[in-house]
């Protein structure tokens, strides 16, 4: 049995230690934000944040996540933002993470399957660099991780728009 910290909650998991975190999240904990795209850390669909760093859950073994490390999935982005900004509990219930808000306002996804990883990457980027340049955004989504974050529908331009929009939303709070 392993204990991990996911979206601010301690969870006990009975899966073998070599199980990729992706299957633990999706099958054991029913956190289905991260998606299976390749299982090879080549696309980013499965990304989560571990202590604020974008990680490919498809190649991260459960045993390699320490009990004190904080895993954030797509489901946990609103609470992460609320905690960072000290948003009151009642308001937090209806507050999305600015990245999610921007993704909606810019109508970024098409099929949407890759967008979990795109939003996780955007969150990692904006937490470290609140006002990224176009070049920095492109670097974040292509060379900063284990592989580029891939989208087959071609929403890269809409993602850039949404990252800029999210940066503006975050600056307001």
């Amino acid at each position: 049995m392993a204990t991990i910290q996911v979206n601010g909650v301690r969870r006990e998991v009975h899966a073998p230690g070599d199980t990729p975190l992706l299957y633990v999240l999706r099958n054991d904990l029913e956190l289905t934000g991260p998606q299976f795209g390749c299982g090879l850390a080549q696309c980013g669909a499965c990304s989560v944040l571990i202590d604020g760093k974008e990680v490919r859950s498809c190649i991260t073994a459960l045993a390699d996540v320490a009990p004190n490390q904080e895993i954030t999935t797509l489901e946990g982005l609103p609470a992460r933002w609320a905690k960072q900004k000290g948003i009151p509990a009642e308001e937090a219930k209806t507050t999305l993470h600015p990245v999610q808000q921007a993704w909606i306002e810019e109508q970024t996804p098409q099929c949407g399957f890759c967008q979990n990883g795109m939003m996780i990457k955007a969150t990692e980027l904006l937490e470290a660099n609140p006002h990224p340049s176009l070049l920095q955004i492109k670097e974040a989504f292509t060379t900063s991780g284990l592989s580029p974050n891939l989208c087959r529908c071609g929403t890269y331009g809409a993602i850039i728009d949404a990252v800029n929009h999210a940066a503006a939303l975050m600056a307001r709070r």
């Binding site: 073998p16 289905t32 299976f36 795209g37 949407g112 979990n116 989504f141 292509t142 929403t155």
Partner: protein, 783 residues
């Protein structure tokens, strides 16, 4: 409930039946009935399978509730186009004269809960999607009812925001149908399980364009919100009680048969089990991780025969030209063929003779295909998946199991776009899940691996075209002749059924249904009407390797975004750019001078202005095909598809010494007639523009003599964010066209001929093969 009264009214060929109830509640249910079923049978067309066509059942098209909220249903399953969540409610809102927000629920895809079938393509079919006509019928029925209720003649009534008014009286739709059970029965033709599904017939009056209110506005897609907030139920999320996870061990080659299936090492994987059916080997276990590991172990212990029956990449075009049987299918002739191109070409002084080649491409969804199947003890089959044509999948599974389609229910969910791969009913894993579930007596979830999806799915067919054209003394195109060669482009046989030796539809053949025929029809409408001598021909043949493969597989093809037309428009538009260069003319002006349709000229002028195009012939005066310094160029393309005109300008830089192309800017002008939802259309066009760059520079299936060697995102690279151009989309709203055209397709097909023309503009060298990968470009520039 007591029926007080029942009567029927004719509404422009539809039938409105009405019952009044004592009990409060009420709903207007709009359903379909097959019109002229006998006539359809006589014509040899299959009658639709009944599941949801009885309009007395609640699973119908439109429901208006007493609180004035409205639910709509469509068999078309959204794949990221957003059309069913935005354009459809907008269309229904305007036909019914209700606010967009009144349409609170959209039900799509599920075979037991939607009425019309068909696929996730051509959502706006001929500008007359079923839901539009249904809404128009419904509107007429509602106004008829209001006329009777208010005692005011129909032509004295007006409707605004779902309230009918006239003669000083008014009543809302909700009040109109309250306490009544109203059933509108409308005429329908076609086949529920056909690729086009059912079609609503008749001609109810339509809302005049001048009265549109919701159409043209920028409503957001509610599915986007549920996906972004992790509330969406994806097909990948479906978990059934007692469900097993499974992986399939696919054959070693595209022609291998099973020698012996490996055994599970029970010491390591105590709960895993192997299922063997013909050449289909599946491994299932209660947990996904055990299934994955056990499948790897079993795969290593499974023995297959060897097979070498494919030409391999290097010999693909030689194989297509010299070894394929192009007499296997009737030659298709262009509908606008005229004059005698052959005669003019024979005596022409200035002419072009060239061959253009396109590689096999993968649909390459970001998530590999998967499905959950639950074959119940009574033989009922439930399939949970992401599919572009659930009704057709349903009939394919029924065929496979030798049962009837009413025993099969397909539940539709969101999933990764796969751009046409399942519009013929299956994407890969659905039938395998059914076979394994039947064998194991439990629900089974089959998840393909990335390699399965690259190597065992269908692909977009490779093709080549031979072009000859002549330029006369005045610099005009005097003759144009093109011969398109492409293997059958749509194989709808479920692969698991093929491997298991279970019944399927026939492989693509001369006699197959039109979409699975070997005939290569002309898909790219000719847009240069003033050219006097035009010959377009399409030549088809069998899929490469399929007949030689002992398991009848080989390189299976399937339509992919802008299918067939992409393969035909690329050679044509690049040849037109070559013709312009041959004539010493500017490539946009040359097209305008050879077009007569005002909308075609309109998009060309719009893209010229928006891109800042400099009018001059290609190549540019300082073009060079050598050196380490990047050189720039630009090219253009034109297309007509789904009642929509498109023009695209691509600006590139290319480094001759490396052959590396960077697409710097892509400008697309689109005239779809009426623009239904500007920002949604813009996003669709942007996505298509990026996929177009992928087709032009990246997409290429690698294969050897045994099978597909492309296996992941390293061996099948697609563009990253760093590879995309600046994209400028010009939407030409053109209400006088009177209807709306498709905008989700076609944008992907524009870039390749424009980028190839830009490469010629920059370097003076023409490369007539896709994709234009750096090593190919480098070699061609050196030559």
């Amino acid at each position: 409930m007591t029926i007080m009264r029942a009567r029927q009214v004719n509404v422009f060929g539809a039938t409105l039946s009405r019952r009044e109830f004592i009990k409060a509640g009420g709903v207007l249910v709009v359903g379909g009935s097959l019109a002229g079923t006998k006539a359809l049978r006589a014509a040899g067309k299959p009658a639709a399978m009944g599941n949801s066509l009885d309009a007395s059942l609640p699973n119908s098209w439109i429901e208006i509730n007493p609180d004035n909220t409205i639910l709509i249903r469509t068999g078309k399953n959204d794949f990221g186009q957003g059309t069913v969540y935005t354009a459809y409610p907008q269309i229904v809102a305007d036909e019914l004269s209700v606010p967009f927000e009144a349409i609170t629920t959209v039900v799509q895809g599920h075979t037991d809960r939607t009425p019309d079938g068909s696929g996730a393509f051509d959502f706006l079919g001929e500008g007359m999607p079923n839901i539009r006509k249904v809404a128009a019928y419904t509107y007429q029925a509602l106004v008829d009812l209001a006329s009777e209720r208010l005692g005011v003649a129909k032509d004295k009534l007006t409707v605004k925001d779902g309230v009918v008014s006239g003669g000083g009286k008014s009543i809302s739709y909700g009040d109109l149908i309250k306490d009544q059970q109203l059933k509108l029965t409308i005429p329908v033709s076609g086949s529920l399980s056909g690729i086009e599904g059912l079609k609503v017939e008749g001609n109810p009056p339509m809302r005049p364009v001048s009265e549109y209110s919701a159409i043209g506005k920028s409503f957001k897609n509610p599915a986007t919100t549920s996906k972004v907030t992790a509330k969406e139920k994806w097909a990948t999320d479906v978990r059934l009680p007692g469900m097993l996870h499974a992986r399939v061990v696919h054959p070693k080659t595209l022609g291998s048969t099973l020698v012996s299936a490996g055994q599970v090492d029970k010491t390591k994987f105590p709960n895993a089990q192997v299922v063997v059916k013909g050449n289909l080997v599946g491994v299932a276990a209660p947990t996904e991780w055990e299934a994955i590991q056990a499948a790897d172990q079993v795969a290593g212990a499974t023995k297959w025969t060897e097979w070498k029956g494919l030409p391999g990449n290097a010999k693909l075009y030689q194989h297509l030209r010299e070894e394929s049987d192009w007499k296997a299918a009737a030659v298709a002739k262009g509908s606008t063929n005229k004059g005698s191109a052959e005669t003019v070409l024979a005596s022409a002084k200035k002419k072009l003779s060239a061959t253009y080649q396109l590689s096999y491409m993968k649909h390459a969804p970001i998530g590999p295909t998967m499905a959950v199947a639950d074959v119940k003890p009574d033989g009922t089959v439930h399939i949970h998946t992401h599919n572009q044509n659930p009704q057709l999948l349903r009939s394919e599974i029924a065929t496979m199991l030798r049962t009837t389609a009413d025993r099969v229910i397909v539940h539709a969910y969101a999933g990764p776009g796969h751009y046409g791969r399942s519009n013929g009913g299956n994407a890969g894993a659905e039938d395998e899940a059914v076979i394994l579930s039947q064998a194991l007596g439990k629900p089974v979830r089959v998840q393909w691996t990335r390699a399965d999806d690259m190597q065992w799915s269908t692909q977009s067919a490779a093709a080549y075209s031979d072009v000859q054209l002549a330029i006369d003394a005045s610099g005009k195109m005097a003759a144009y002749q093109i011969d398109h060669y492409m293997p059958a482009m749509q194989d709808d046989r479920p692969i698991g059924a093929v491997l298991a030796g279970l019944p399927t539809m026939p492989a693509p053949d001369v006699q197959a249904d039109s979409v699975t025929s070997t005939v290569n029809g002309l898909s790219d409408p000719w847009v240069y009407a003033p050219v006097a001598n035009v010959t377009e021909r399409g030549h088809g043949t069998f899929q490469v390797g399929q007949k030689a493969s002992p398991i009848a597989v080989g390189l299976r093809d399937h339509s992919m975004r802008t299918p067939g037309q992409f393969q035909q428009n690329y050679p044509r538009e690049l040849a037109i750019s070559e013709a312009a260069a041959l004539a010493g003319a500017d490539a946009i002006q040359f097209r305008i001078d050879h077009a007569s349709e005002e909308r075609a000229i309109g998009v060309l002028k719009a893209v010229r202005e928006a891109s800042g195009w400099e009018t001059r012939p290609s190549p540019r005066p300082d073009a060079t095909s050598s050196g380490t310094a990047p050189v720039r160029g630009r090219g253009v393309s034109l297309m007509y598809r789904s009642r929509t005109y498109w023009a695209c300008v691509c600006e590139i830089s290319v480094t001759p010494s490396s052959g590396a192309i960077v697409v710097e800017k892509s400008t697309i002008a689109v005239d779809p007639g009426i623009v239904i939802n500007p920002p949604q259309l813009k996003r669709q066009v942007e996505g298509g523009a990026v996929m177009g760059v992928s087709h032009a520079l990246f997409d290429e299936v690698s294969f050897n003599e045994s099978g597909v060697t492309t296996e992941d995102w390293i061996t099948y690279p697609i563009p990253t964010m760093a590879d995309i151009p600046e994209i400028k989309v010009v939407l030409l709203n053109n209400p006088k066209v009177g209807t709306y055209g498709g905008g989700s397709e076609a944008a992907n097909a524009l870039a390749a001929p424009a980028i190839a023309a830009a490469l010629h503009d920059a370097t003076g060298k023409m490369i007539r093969q896709l994709p234009m990968k750096a090593d190919r470009v480098q070699a061609a520039l050196k030559a």
